[in-house]
């Protein structure tokens, strides 16, 4: 990887980092377990590596934005996540921030 490509990759990852959280929160307005969440996000054009998504879910839960419960589905125990009450509130605020940024960037371009 050249220096320019490396720089681009770092900036791209930096740009994506905050967006991923917003995407996950948006998708978890409906309940999902890790793998179906990943598939749902990918189906909407937001590919997330499993090594990023699964730990992110735990962090968001530890921060009180998600709730989870273990439940059996298809004869297998799975951990299902959804937005908590605080998560809904934070998501709404982040979404507004996102829209403001989007508008600002659009105005700039």
């Amino acid at each position: 990887m050249t220096l320019a490509e490396n720089l681009f990759e770092n900036l791209r990852l930096e740009l994506r980092r905050g967006c991923l959280t917003l995407a996950v929160l948006a998708q978890l307005r409906q309940e999902h377990y890790g793998y179906t969440l990943r598939k749902a996000l990918a189906a909407r054009g937001m590919e997330i590596d499993e090594n990023t998504l699964y730990p992110l879910l735990r962090r968001l839960e530890a921060q009180g934005l998600l709730t989870s419960e273990w439940r059996e589905e298809d004869k297998r125990n799975k951990r299902f996540y959804k937005l908590s009450a605080d998560g809904h509130d934070i998501f709404a605020r982040l979404l507004k921030e996102w829209n403001d940024i989007n508008t600002a960037i659009t105005n700039l371009l």
Binding site: K39, N51, K78, R79
Partner: protein
């Protein structure tokens, strides 16, 4: 499945032990579902080689487990700028002290070019060891800071109030006053004060701590310190202890933010004491001959005494000027406030 089990077992070894069962159970459910999807997509059960390729694609077990660990820093972003600034300063001073000490040793003992080369070669090691100790101190501070982050990063918990804090701080500077001390600065002062005190107490037993390799010179020189130096030494120790006690009291009373300008002035005045002790030495004798009958070094001794005495007189004059400057500034500040109040 056996290969997946082995993979998960390898991941488990690097997970935080309290949550490992929970994390592995979740990871297993997700990966098994992913595997089933893959098999359904391909229309056949994955072969050993295909499972192996898929697991390799997931990443090494250490990398996978590391994502579940909290982000850890040896020295985090809050402390790092202070660490970098102080490290540069410490390294600079180390290099200067080491160079002076080595030069003194080489010149006084008449050592050849070999000794000079050896001293230059050893310099990186001296710097490396000092940097390592300094880094260790900051790593400990970082660990402590993680436990009480709101005290270390002042304003981090304030959230939206930061512009006001910044404006107030700017105004305070314009106002001629310094910013309030942070908890980190107060703790650093205490740590540094403690290190200095320990260093001071060790110096009489280990003179190389003060003079470096030049300490050997003390053994071979025909001169010895006059008794006045012991009074000077204990005065310095007591002053350091007093300052350390002030730091501890401030921390215990949660008054570490205060700058205590009056106390600073008192300290400056007290700093004059050890200098005055030396200047008041009977007969201005600061060094004496180990062997009083040794007349060969009497002239050199007189010169050493004279120049040391003059050196201390200059230092005392500078300290008095500093004290006068501080007093003057305090006076102007009081006058300004009085005018502002009218």
């Amino acid at each position: 499945m056996e290969m997946l089990d082995r993979y998960l077992q390898a991941v488990r070894r690097h997970l935080p032990w309290r949550r490992e069962d929970d994390i592995i159970a979740e990871l297993r459910a997700n990966l098994e579902a992913q595997l089933e999807d893959k098999e359904a997509e391909l229309g056949h059960k994955l072969t050993g080689a295909e499972v192996e390729a898929w697991l390799k694609q997931l990443g090494s077990p250490i990398q996978v487990a590391a994502r579940y660990q909290p982000q850890q820093y040896l020295i985090g972003p809050a402390l790092f700028p202070i660490y970098r600034f102080l490290l540069r300063m410490v390294m600079g001073w180390c290099a200067v002290i080491y160079t002076i000490a080595s030069t003194v040793e080489i010149v006084s003992r008449g050592l050849g070019p070999d000794a000079s080369v050896r001293a230059v070669v050893q310099l990186p090691w001296v710097l490396f060891i000092n940097a390592a100790v300094f880094t260790l101190i900051f790593a400990i501070l970082e660990r402590t800071g993680i436990k009480v982050p709101e005290k270390f990063v002042q304003g981090a918990a304030i959230g939206n109030e930061w512009p006001q804090a910044a404006v107030s701080s700017h105004l305070a500077q314009l106002d001629g006053r310094k910013k309030p001390k942070t908890y980190l600065q107060a703790v650093l002062e205490l740590v540094v004060g403690w290190i200095v005190l320990v260093w001071l107490l060790l110096v009489p037993h280990y003179p190389f701590l003060l003079m470096g390799p030049g300490a050997i010179y003390l053994k071979v020189t025909p001169f010895e310190l006059a008794p006045v130096w012991w009074t000077f030494y204990w005065c310095v120790v007591v002053l350091n202890m007093m300052e350390l006690a002030w730091c501890i009291i401030d921390l215990l009373q949660d008054r570490w933010q205060d700058r205590h300008p009056r106390r600073h002035m008192i300290k400056q005045a007290l700093d004059l004491l050890p200098l005055l002790i030396v200047l008041a030495a009977p007969g201005r004798v600061l060094f004496a001959l180990k062997n009083p009958a040794d007349t060969a070094h009497a002239a050199t001794l007189a010169q050493i005494n004279m120049w040391t005495y003059r050196g201390f007189a200059v230092i005392a004059a500078i300290t008095i000027l500093q004290l006068a400057w501080t007093l003057g500034r305090m006076g102007v500040e009081t006058y300004r406030r009085r005018l502002a109040a009218q």
